[in-house]
């Protein structure tokens, strides 16, 4: 794979209807390890994030991930990109914590022993070992988001996209989940309203009314964002 193919690339991406565009003429090349996306409700930032793993297909333009066209190779792209949703409840499929993490590894040609070993390792990593046999739907909000992280990362994606992962969490769990996201070896892209989450990030992109209005180091981009609010 050539160097230029690495990372996430948006080329002339637009989305929505003519009279109601969601995103307009987005050109981005995302290669930094920690990238934040901020913007008002309805600015199009969630749509932008969903285009990275093909949950939303742009009406025009192309998105590529490590050289793979998201439109045509969505399945391969989704193995590269792990996605964390705002509401972890929607991500839980299986009744218990351990079963839900193991669920990610189904249909990947792994033996039951391999699945169990990798599941146990992931539970350990996210401090969920003691909850392994608990019913997943009875966990607290913070624990559910931890489970979502474990269930996504057990598959070993190279990129993690998180769409407002801390919006439903209290301050303490926000800090916990943020700390874990920042500690990942993967490239991490976080859509957020919690500006503290972006401390120490490499790059912040500000979306407003479907366009990129600022794209810079966090300090510069966030002042532009705050200026937009006033």
């Amino acid at each position: 794979m050539s160097v230029s193919a690495a990372g996430i690339r948006f080329e002339a991406v637009s989305h929505g209807f003519d009279d109601q565009p969601v995103l307009r003429g987005i050109d981005l090349h995302l290669t930094e390890r920690r990238i934040g996306i901020v913007g008002a409700n309805g600015s199009g930032k969630s749509t932008l994030a969903r285009m990275i793993n093909g949950l939303v297909t742009p009406t025009s333009g192309t998105v590529t991930v490590n050289g793979l066209d998201v439109r045509r190779q969505a399945k391969l792209v989704r193995r590269e990109v792990g996605f964390i949703f705002t509401n972890p409840d929607n991500q839980i499929v299986m009744p218990t914590v351990q079963e839900d993490v193991a669920f990610t590894l189904r249909r990947r040609g792994l033996t039951p022993d391999e699945i169990e070993a990798r599941t146990i390792e992931a539970l350990e990593r996210f401090g969920l070992t003691a909850l392994a046999d608990r019913p997943a739907h009875r966990l607290s909000g913070g624990q559910k988001q931890l489970l979502a992280l474990a269930a996504v990362l057990v598959a070993g994606p190279s990129i993690v996209v998180a769409d407002e992962p801390t919006t439903l969490l209290d301050a303490r769990n926000t800090r916990l989940i943020t700390g874990l996201l920042v500690s990942l070896t993967q490239q991490v892209i976080v859509v957020t309203h919690d500006l503290e989450v972006l401390d120490g990030f490499d790059r912040v992109i500000v979306i407003d009314e479907g366009r990129v209005v600022a794209d810079d180091a966090p300090s510069v981009a966030l002042s532009a964002y705050l200026a937009l609010l006033s």
């Binding site: 949703f85 929607n90 499929v93 218990t96 189904r106 249909r107 739907h137 598959a155």
Partner: protein, 202 residues
């Protein structure tokens, strides 16, 4: 089935789900055919022993078995009355009560010692002969999602009821059903999205 599983390492926990399911079916037939109260009493002892082997304490077993006792409180006198209050009447009623108790206790034991994953795998094994017509994986996923959606929909109903109370509204059934259905459909969309993101998009 949801959240009832009690983790453990006993023989009953380790036995293959399909074997347990098969034995459960056989036991149900046998219990249904028993006509001797002594044999039935023996079966009750065996059930208690099985719970002991599985390491299920009475407080965990009670919520599963308790409700059937309430039914028996009514069903047994009715049975006796129907039989005219004779000795045979009492025997028939006792047999019926014992059969129900054994059947429910055994079924509960299966639920308490078997994970949903194991049940799904058993399903898939059972469906294997039909794989030309049925995608066992997909059926397994369908069952898993159906089980998963019970607490989810229960929570939605709960929240809608709360919201109604907060606004002081005493709505009709339609006023409850509409928001529940709408929110369930939204949740279904979101779950579909999450499934696709987790690689189950075909």
């Amino acid at each position: 089935m949801i959240g009832l599983y009690r983790p453990g390492t006993s023989l009953l926990h380790r036995a293959p789900a399909l074997l347990k399911l098969g034995l459960l079916a056989v036991a149900m037939v046998v219990v249904g055919l028993v006509a001797d109260p002594l044999v039935l009493a023996g079966e009750l002892v065996v059930v208690v022993a099985l719970y002991a082997v599985a390491g299920i304490p009475p407080p965990a077993a009670w919520p599963q078995i308790g409700p059937i006792l309430w039914i028996l409180v009514f069903a047994v006198p009715v049975q006796v009355l129907v039989a005219g209050g004779s000795v045979e009447g009492w025997t028939t009623a006792g047999l019926m009560a014992g059969r129900l108790l054994v059947a429910v206790a055994l079924a509960a034991l299966f639920t308490l010692t078997t994970t949903v994953t194991a049940v799904l795998e058993a399903f898939q094994l059972l469906l294997r002969p039909f794989r030309r017509w049925v995608d066992a994986d997909r059926v397994g996923l369908l069952v898993a999602l159906a089980i998963r959606c019970i607490p989810l929909v229960a929570e939605i109903v709960h929240e809608v009821l709360d919201a109604r109370r907060a606004r002081g509204a005493q709505g009709s059934l339609v006023a409850l059903a509409v928001p529940v259905v709408v929110r369930s459909l939204y949740a279904a969309d979101a779950i579909g999205e999450a499934l696709a993101a987790r690689g189950l998009d075909d």
